[in-house]
């Protein structure tokens, strides 16, 4: 059974990796670049195969999923383009050695081992995951799988309390693996949650290694693994970490896009759109994210490159997001019952809540407290939201940034602004949702706010390390760096002449 579940992941990962070769044909990215393909490809493949499975369900052909996916693999294989481009284009200008640099990988791998063991213990404690896993995600998967051809029976008002408006990326990825293995074992959701948790760590490491420096990559991964709630939430089998992954991937791809000015890189925008689209297929918050990514990119490109460039870029992003958005739309229009947040709300009720000043304060206070404490774990309903900063949190990163200073590549400046704006607007969007929430405010905040923060945390950590000075820049004198940069540029020039 485990072998067949692994086979389902191998096939979805192959589809994802092939896609990266089709849309991102620059090959020589050194070993970290190969990792990057896997880290991008595996979740993209998983998202795409869940979309494919949804279409098969709609057409009552889910039994043929294996054959359809094998055909998809062969189909994508035909479209792989020959690799182009020079090696190391994304790498930092130069890799320099400094004293005690071995500490970084040692601490990173130590924390990785510790986090993997913590994850395994958490899973052994609660193999079905936490509350929302068996209330929503795993329950939806189980119902669809066990209902076989009557899977639409799930979308009944009797089960509205299980949040039938939540998208299906996670449940259908689980169902698909169960289809392969022939039974609804716990291995599939466990493996899926493990994969998304550690692939997020891997992506932040690989992306920062390529875009900044290898040691910066280690630090980014360490901050995630040092945030206990990240590991705990990952092991809880909820959709928040997969969502956080797709947010992060969207930003990573757009940063890489802006670093590759001299190449045919529109494929990266398609992948960016696909990642943002898959976030909307993972959780409803992804819809807001997708809209914000497109709007802010458009606004920034109008400023930086003019209207034509802005329209062109947004169209390429839409080309990637479009197919997934259509699937989300089919799901929302045909199957999902009313949205649990807005069902039965009148405009008058909404306006009355928006004009209640006291409500703003009631939300703002937990917003600040949770903002400082969310890395530590789920809110305790007995003690309520309170200040519990722990060791790794936003304060630590602020202090670190102050000590290290900022050094931003010219090509990254607009992107940092863009991504930072998206994250802040996401928080603002959530604030408005709380303002008009039909639920008792304390209940709603306590059961969701720290998860909403955690959805944005990997992206925030990535942005911080994109801006912070790298350990190499910090520990090696400027003279050595500039001579290293010169050597690197000379090598690049010679390689260019030869080719």
């Amino acid at each position: 059974m485990i072998f067949l579940i692994l086979l389902s992941f191998v096939i979805s990962t192959t589809i994802g990796i092939l896609l990266t070769f089709i849309f991102f044909p620059i090959r020589k990215l050194k070993s970290v670049g190969l990792w990057l393909r896997f880290l991008i490809g595996a979740p993209l493949g998983m998202g795409l195969t869940s979309c494919l499975y949804f279409l098969c369900l709609l057409a009552n052909h889910s039994g043929y999923i294996f054959a359809i996916e094998i055909m998809a693999v062969l189909f994508f294989f035909v479209f792989i383009r020959r690799g182009t481009g020079q090696g190391g284009v994304l790498n930092p200008p130069v890799i320099l050695k400094f004293k005690f640099q071995w500490i970084f990988p040692m601490v990173f791998y130590g924390a990785l081992l510790s986090s993997v063991i913590s994850f395994i213990i958490a899973t052994l404690k609660e193999p079905h995951g936490k509350w929302d896993a068996w209330w929503i995600w795993n329950f939806h998967a189980r119902f669809i799988f066990r209902s076989a051809e009557h899977w639409r029976n799930m979308f009944t008002s009797a089960l509205e309390w299980t949040h039938l408006d939540y998208p299906l990326l996670l449940p259908l990825s689980i169902v698909r693996s169960w289809r392969y293995s022939g039974g609804d074992s716990l291995y599939a959701p466990i493996f899926l949650s493990f994969l998304f948790t550690f692939i997020t760590v891997g992506l932040i490491w690989a992306a920062l290694s390529i875009l900044r420096s290898r040691h910066q990559g280690y630090l980014g991964g360490l901050v995630l693994m040092g945030s206990p709630f990240f590991i705990v939430l990952g092991a809880s089998q909820l959709a928040d970490i997969p969502l956080a992954f797709f947010f992060l991937l969207t930003f990573v791809l757009i940063f890489i896009y802006d670093r590759l000015l001299e190449y045919d890189r529109k494929g990266l925008l398609i992948l960016t759109g696909l990642a943002a689209g898959l976030s909307a297929w993972t959780k409803n918050e992804g819809l807001l994210f997708l809209a914000l990514v497109m709007a802010t990119r458009f606004a920034i490109m109008v400023y930086a490159g003019g209207w034509r460039q802005a329209v062109k870029e947004v169209l390429w992003i839409s080309a990637g997001a479009g197919p997934v958005v259509i699937i989300v739309a089919i799901f929302k229009l045909q199957l999902a019952l009313s949205d649990h947040l807005f069902a039965g709300m009148t405009m008058q009720q909404i306006l009355s809540k928006l004009s209640n000043v006291h409500r703003y304060w009631e939300i703002l206070k937990p917003y600040v407290l949770t903002g400082l404490s969310f890395t530590q774990g789920f809110a305790n309903i007995r003690t309520g939201i309170h200040f519990n900063p722990g060791l790794v949190n936003i304060i630590l990163l602020s202090v670190y940034l102050m000590l290290m200073g900022i050094r931003v590549d010219r090509k990254d400046r607009l992107n940092l602004l863009n991504a930072g704006a998206v994250l802040l607007l996401m928080l603002a969007g959530h604030f408005v949702i709380y303002l008009i929430s039909p639920y008792e405010l304390n209940y709603h905040l306590m059961t969701s706010l720290n998860r909403l923060y955690m959805q944005l945390w990997p992206s925030a950590v990535f942005l911080l390390f994109m801006a912070a000075r790298t350990p190499e820049e910090a520990l090696i004198s400027k003279d050595v760096i500039s001579s290293g940069e010169k050597n690197f540029k000379n090598k690049q020039r010679k390689r260019g002449k030869r080719s």
Binding site: L159, I381, A474
Partner: protein, 151 residues
């Protein structure tokens, strides 16, 4: 030339981050390991699932059942929303989770009704009022009821 103070500041920044992230990661491992023996055989979902699974055999071909517990049905969600008691809702959710794809309605008005009494005992008056008679008692607070049709 770099001044000694800024270089020291950078080193402090790096050591702080490396030290605290590793400490936080190891602390999580320590806390998880410490609580592990208590949890090993007490995963509540697995325990509930094992309990509720017994009832499956008594529901062949049934598409929907009702549900009753030690509190009124309308209080199950209310107690959770008011953070007064989340257990009743957890037990209801786990009953639905285990019996899927059978629909478990939070109501006593179905021909077959699952009685789940982990926290408390059945209310005789409530059962009488709703004309629920036990079909089978599975033990451990799990009872399958049948709803008598109106005379």
């Amino acid at each position: 030339m770099d001044l000694p103070y800024p270089r020291m500041r950078l080193k402090v920044g790096l050591l702080l981050l490396l030290g605290l992230t590793l400490a936080a990661s190891l602390n999580l491992l320590y806390q998880s390991g410490k609580a592990y023996p208590d949890f090993l055989k007490t995963d509540p979902v697995t325990i509930h699932e094992r309990r509720i699974n017994q009832i499956k055999g008594a529901l062949p071909g049934t598409a929907a059942v009702g549900y009753v517990t030690a509190v009124d049905n309308e209080k199950i969600f209310y107690y959770e929303r008011s953070l007064f008691n989340v257990e009743f809702l957890a037990q209801y959710i786990l009953t639905q989770y285990t019996l899927a794809p059978v629909l478990v309605y939070n109501s006593p008005d179905y021909p077959l009704v699952v009685g789940n009494y982990i926290d408390g005992s059945p209310d005789v008056d409530f059962l009488k009022k709703n004309r629920l008679t036990p079909v089978r008692d599975f033990g451990d607070g799990l009872i399958l009821y049948q709803k008598e049709l109106k005379p």
